[in-house]
Amino acid sequence: MHFNRRQALISIGLAVFRKAAWSLATPLRPIAWGRNHADLDGSQTPTDTATEDRLRADLARLAPRVYSEEGIPVFLACVNLVPAGPSHQVPKVNLPPFSAALASTFHRNAQAYQRIRPGAVAKDVAPLIEVLADRDFSRGQAAKG
């Protein structure tokens, strides 16, 4: 089949134009919300309302915990600041898939948290992380990494 370069460029241009027009007609949302990614517990991305409902319920369930007398699950990011080799640059480490899933789930729930509690302050990320850790620790099948 003879390849018509001019026709191909026109087709690509039309496709880009249609996508741009569709995007303008779509309500503006943070980019990551549109992704169809796996949740930490394996389900597909829930709706905003479902995320809010589940978060609200988990925050209420965990609120009575006595921090000073209970084991509180959390996640810790592991940051290497040590340069190595002749380049004196910090080497790139392997990133387990769990990190990406956690970041994505955290993003969605942080957005939900702000809708639930519009006056949220910086330290409110703590209960949010604790909710996600509690779900992960209690679901019975820990992701590797």
Partner: protein, 238 residues
């Protein structure tokens, strides 16, 4: 130098960025561990032992350096904060029963307080004393207990007095970061590798604290939802 986040949006963005770009490890944080809750801790650790494996300092160092975890089960850092006496009496036997390594983050000033001074010290330094189960008034670990713990578990520094470092003058700050490490060297015969203070700062957020952390030869800095590896070689042990 980086600036600590001031709003929820900034803080959430920082955490999301960390989770997206760095390996993550799980931790469970204990503090005061009254005997009345021993069964609850037992059940909790039993459940975790099915899912997770223990983490030594060398394993953490390797994970921080490479992002590679070699055990079949993901690692779980079992952190026991402050230096409460019941960390030894109640939690430690359960931690060992379920095959974990405990990480004791110790406030050296709490340990150094003598009997009747421990309760006032705790109340003045944000060490929660909701349950007070020792009639003799000793609520903190002893150095002898810490030497026993040190044989199989991890001892880490949680500063000297459990106060916000960024508010301190130079000599007080030195005592918190370097003085506490000197105390570990004296009492354990070696320095400890990990440092955590009350509410941070993270390494890179407070220049004076950073300099002292390096001077004290710590390898790891634990702060809000992150562990930073700042040295390539294990600290000198003597």
């Amino acid at each position: 130098m980086t600036t600590p986040p001031r709003t929820f949006t900034e803080s959430a963005a920082q955490i999301e960025q960390l989770f997206a770009t760095e390996p993550v490890i799980r931790a469970v944080n204990f503090h005061n561990a009254p005997r009345a809750k021993a069964d609850e801790y037992d059940r909790q650790l039993a459940q975790y032992s099915k899912l997770f494996s223990s983490v030594t300092e060398d394993q953490l160092d390797h994970y921080l350096a490479t992002g590679t975890w070699t055990n079949a089960k993901p690692g779980l850092i079992v952190s026991i904060y402050e230096g409460y006496r019941n960390g030894y009496d109640v939690l430690l036997p359960l931690v060992e029963k379920h095959g974990f390594i405990a990480w004791f983050f110790v406030i050296t000033g709490f340990i150094d307080s003598v009997g009747k001074d421990q309760l006032p010290f705790a109340l003045n330094h944000e060490i929660d004393m909701l349950t007070r189960e020792y009639p003799d008034g000793r609520y903190a670990l002893t150095w002898e207990q810490l030497r026993q713990i040190d044989r199989k578990h991890v001892i880490a520094c949680h500063s000297r007095s459990h106060q916000k470092l960024s508010d301190m003058g130079p000599s007080k700050l030195r005592e918190e970061v370097v003085g506490s490490q000197d105390e570990f060297r004296k009492q354990l015969g070696h320095g400890v590798r990990a440092f955590a203070s009350l509410t941070g700062p993270a390494y890179g957020e407070h220049a004076r604290t950073d300099r002292l952390i390096r001077a004290a030869d710590y390898d790891f800095v634990f702060s809000n939802f992150r562990i930073q590896r700042i040295r390539a070689e294990p600290s000198r042990r003597a």
